[in-house]
């Protein structure tokens, strides 16, 4: 359900919390089937943007369409065709991984053998098949993140919002999630909107990068273009040049 091949379109999207402007006049277009990386320092407004686009938070001003649907009028329809991986895991501590995924499937109106087959396959791919019947309270944070990734993909959303998908994962699990995103985007035309701090991950996975600083979009383009424009070696250096934050050795030791 896209309009003119655009899966997300925002116009002057703004969100304020009291005196703080979390998202400032954001105008953005994300093409269908793309893997959009949303980079920015802590508190830049990435999570706020994702929450507005997924219908969880009301914007202060501006408009946005997700999969051709207006976020003010079609929140339920947007939720039905999108998936959201939240920043921190809000799992049910007293359910097992299978039971939790069954619950998420049911919330999205799915049940029966088809759902169970999908749950088993996803848990197997994510390496949780041996622990699938253990209560989630005993899972490590990385394992919980894997369950959340599975819950986000369970109902085959057209557009997936991933908020820091690999922040708690070990390198092997990060690589797995990376491959999962790439194969889903290529084979099923699923679009991804990924908030991350990890520039390496963004460089490997995303075909378009937007850098947000203090709520404003300061850079937009392919990773290669951003690196070339900044005249640096990689995305991390480009990011540090755009956003700032590189501190010299003398300052690093000044606190002593």
């Amino acid at each position: 359900m896209t309009r003119n091949g655009t899966v997300i379109r925002t116009q002057a999207l703004t969100k304020t919390f009291g005196d703080i402007c979390a998202v400032d006049d954001l105008s953005l277009e994300v093409k269908s089937g793309s893997r959009f990386g949303f980079l920015g320092p802590n508190g830049a407004g990435k999570t706020t943007t994702v929450r507005i686009l997924s219908g969880l938070l009301r914007q202060t001003s501006g408009t946005a369409q997700v999969c051709g649907l207006n976020i003010d009028d079609d929140r339920n329809r947007i939720k039905a065709i999108t998936g959201l991986l939240p920043e921190s895991p809000g799992l049910y501590s007293k359910l097992s991984a299978v039971e939790f995924l069954e619950f998420i499937g049911a919330l999205n109106n799915r049940n029966g053998d088809g759902l169970h087959r999908r749950i088993d396959n996803l848990l197997s791919i994510l390496g949780l098949e041996g622990r699938q019947d253990d209560l989630l309270e005993s899972y490590s944070s990385g394992m919980k993140q894997k369950v959340l990734v599975a819950s986000t993909l369970l109902h085959e959303p057209k557009l997936v919002f991933l908020d820091e998908p690999t922040s708690r994962l070990d390198p092997a699990a990060s690589a797995l999630v990376k491959d999962l995103i790439l194969v889903l985007a290529e084979e099923t035309d699923t679009s991804f909107f990924i908030c991350t701090h990890m520039t390496n991950f963004a460089e490997d996975v995303c075909d378009v990068i937007g850098i947000l600083d203090s709520g404003s979009l300061v850079t937009l383009g392919s990773p290669e273009d951003i690196v070339e424009t900044a005249r640096v070696d990689d995305l991390e250096d480009a990011y540090l040049q755009i956003v700032g934050g590189k501190i010299d050795r003398k300052t690093l030791l000044a606190w002593r």
């Binding site: 969880l56 809000g90 998420i104 309270e137």
Partner: protein
């Protein structure tokens, strides 16, 4: 160099006064000044003034003097138990030992942790003593015209007792917390214990009080003298007697000696010895308590087993996604020990209160109809308590997940209601059978109490889920949202049922309308109390339904 305990105490004080962050020292000072003014001037004036309005102090003086030793012993006994239990129950509900690891990693002595935690809490408890103690002490101190020096000694003794008990409570809390750890399972157990700790201790306590005469006879002495609370109580009594300004005669003082048994010095020594021993035991065992290691904690992995017949039956009856949501909600609720203790707490209350009422021998609550009305009120509380506040949603992140699905909150709340009703349904059977048996009810009367009681139960559940959905407090039991949810969930059902009784009474008193007579003329075979019960239950169900809808709307709308 300042010791480690001071920094811990300071941190505790900062946590305590977080609400008045910028001006904590000024506000604390003002608060203490006001509390002192209250204790020294306002409270005695108000309390004695109020008593004077009812019975002139001159008439009451003799009685108060005689009552002093007995009242002190009883009040100190309950104060002792409350001071011991309240912080323990409170701490168990919010089990946090993460900061212990910070302390220990910074080479802080274990004794400093205990002392620092206590000293940090002291300003709060001192304030409580300053506010509450004068309410109790003023009439007695006034009746005996105790001198200012005597009053200072009385409040010092009281403060000494409070300090000792809180120190003990602090130590026991640390012991329990360290054993249960900060694991999810330990946390769950702690919350469950925190919920029932009062029942577990208070019920045997009542038993001890009733058995005291027998124990005394067996021991050949007053068994009350064995309680540390008695030493404080008797010391306070002696202080008030010694520093009296009414001129008690020698024979009157000897009269007190026969009641109090031990003299002032012995009581003071016993009280001090108990405080010193508590201090020594806690400090001596501190190192053993604060050993945090993975092995000693309850890091047990629980693997779910095959589903039971009830769950399988629900799945068979409801093979849709709704059935799955229902089953998930049931599993989530019933696997938490704290929820099971809340249910048990409710059942104990529902059974004990009507039983007590049927034994007190008063004229009220002696017929089956009156008891049915009482059961409806009780069941509304039993239905609301297990689902109010805690246990609805674990975290805001969980809410985001549910909100992320189309119509997620609506389907979640509806299935949560059905699962909650399934959980509480059996609870009506126990009080209905107990009451039916005690009151020799007919089958019809039994069915009425069962039916109306269940509707009261369902109404209470609807109210508490609706109230909590409107203002979820997650697992935070210290938040104002939690207190509000708990209060509203109990008050609304009670008010919805009681209101009809008051409407009928006021109609009679103010306008001379005999509503009960009207009920009798229209429904001659039905008791007016049953009709009020039906009215109350209908009102409760309507209010519960409206609160549920409002809760769903509130959870569904995007945040601003």
């Amino acid at each position: 160099m300042v010791r480690g305990w001071f920094h811990i105490a300071k941190a505790e004080f900062f946590v305590l006064t977080a609400g008045m962050r910028k001006h904590r020292y000024i506000y604390s000072g003002i608060l203490y000044a006001l509390a002192l003014l209250w204790a020294v001037y306002l409270a005695p004036m108000i309390v004695v003034g109020l008593i004077d309005l009812i019975i002139p102090m001159a008439q009451l003086q003799g009685l108060l003097v005689i009552m002093l030793p007995g009242t002190m012993r009883t009040v100190m006994f309950f104060a002792w138990v409350l001071l011991l239990l309240f912080p323990l129950s409170y701490a168990l509900n919010e089990l946090k030992i993460g900061h212990w690891e910070i302390f220990l990693s910074n080479d802080v002595k274990t004794k400093d942790i205990l002392v620092g935690t206590l000293m940090g809490k002291m300003p709060f408890y001192t304030l409580i003593v300053l506010m509450l103690a004068p309410l109790l002490m003023s009439p007695f101190l006034c009746a005996l015209q105790v001198s200012l020096v005597g009053q200072v000694f009385v409040y010092l003794a009281l403060t000494g007792m409070v300090l000792t008990v809180i120190w003990l409570s602090n130590w026991i809390t640390a012991l329990v917390q360290a054993r249960l750890g900060d694991s999810s399972r330990g946390n769950d157990l702690a919350k469950a214990i925190g919920m029932i700790v009062a029942v577990v201790v208070i019920v045997p306590m009542y038993g001890i009080i009733y058995m005291l005469p027998a124990i005394s006879e067996f021991l050949g002495m007053d068994a009350f003298l064995l309680f540390p609370s008695t030493w404080t109580a008797d010391l306070i009594s002696w202080l008030a007697i010694t520093f009296n300004g009414v001129g008690l005669t020698g024979s009157q003082v000897i009269g007190f000696q026969t009641i109090l048994h031990m003299d002032m010095v012995t009581n003071a020594l016993l009280m001090t010895a108990f405080g010193v021993v508590s201090l020594a035991v806690a400090l001596g065992t501190a190192d053993r308590i604060f050993t945090i290691s993975a092995g000693s904690r309850t890091e047990v992995i629980t693997t779910v087993k095959a589903e039971n017949a009830v769950i399988r039956g629900i799945r068979r009856l409801l093979p849709s996604a709704t059935g799955v949501l229902l089953v998930s909600n049931l599993k989530d609720y019933l696997r938490k020990a704290q929820n099971l203790s809340k249910l048990a707490y409710g059942v104990v209350l529902a059974v004990l209160l009507p039983v007590f009422l049927s034994f007190v021998g008063s004229d009220a609550w002696q017929t089956m109809d009156e008891m049915t009305f009482f059961v409806v009120m009780m069941m509304a509380v039993v239905g609301s308590m297990p689902f109010a506040g805690q246990g609805f949603l674990e975290s805001k992140d969980q809410l985001w997940i549910i909100q992320g699905a189309a119509d997620g909150p609506s389907r979640f709340v509806k299935t949560r209601l059905v699962s909650s009703l399934l959980v509480v349904s059996p609870l009506i059977v126990i009080p209905a059978v107990v009451i039916g048996y005690l009151m020799h009810a007919t089958l019809i009367e039994f069915l009425v109490v069962l039916g109306l009681g269940y509707l009261g139960l369902a109404g209470g559940t609807m109210v508490s889920i609706g109230v909590t959905a409107r203002n979820p407090n997650y697992e935070d039991t210290k938040s104002p949202a939690h207190q509000t949810n708990m209060m509203l969930s109990v008050m609304i059902p009670q008010f919805s049922i009681m209101i009809w009784l008051f409407v009928d009474l006021f109609a009679d008193m103010l306008f001379g309308i005999d509503v009960f007579g009207f009920y009798r003329s229209v429904f001659p075979s039905v008791s007016p109390f049953t009709i009020i019960g039906i009215q109350g239950v209908i009102g409760l169900l309507i209010i519960g339904g409206l609160l549920l809808l409002s809760g769903i709307r509130s959870l569904s709308k995007p945040e601003n």
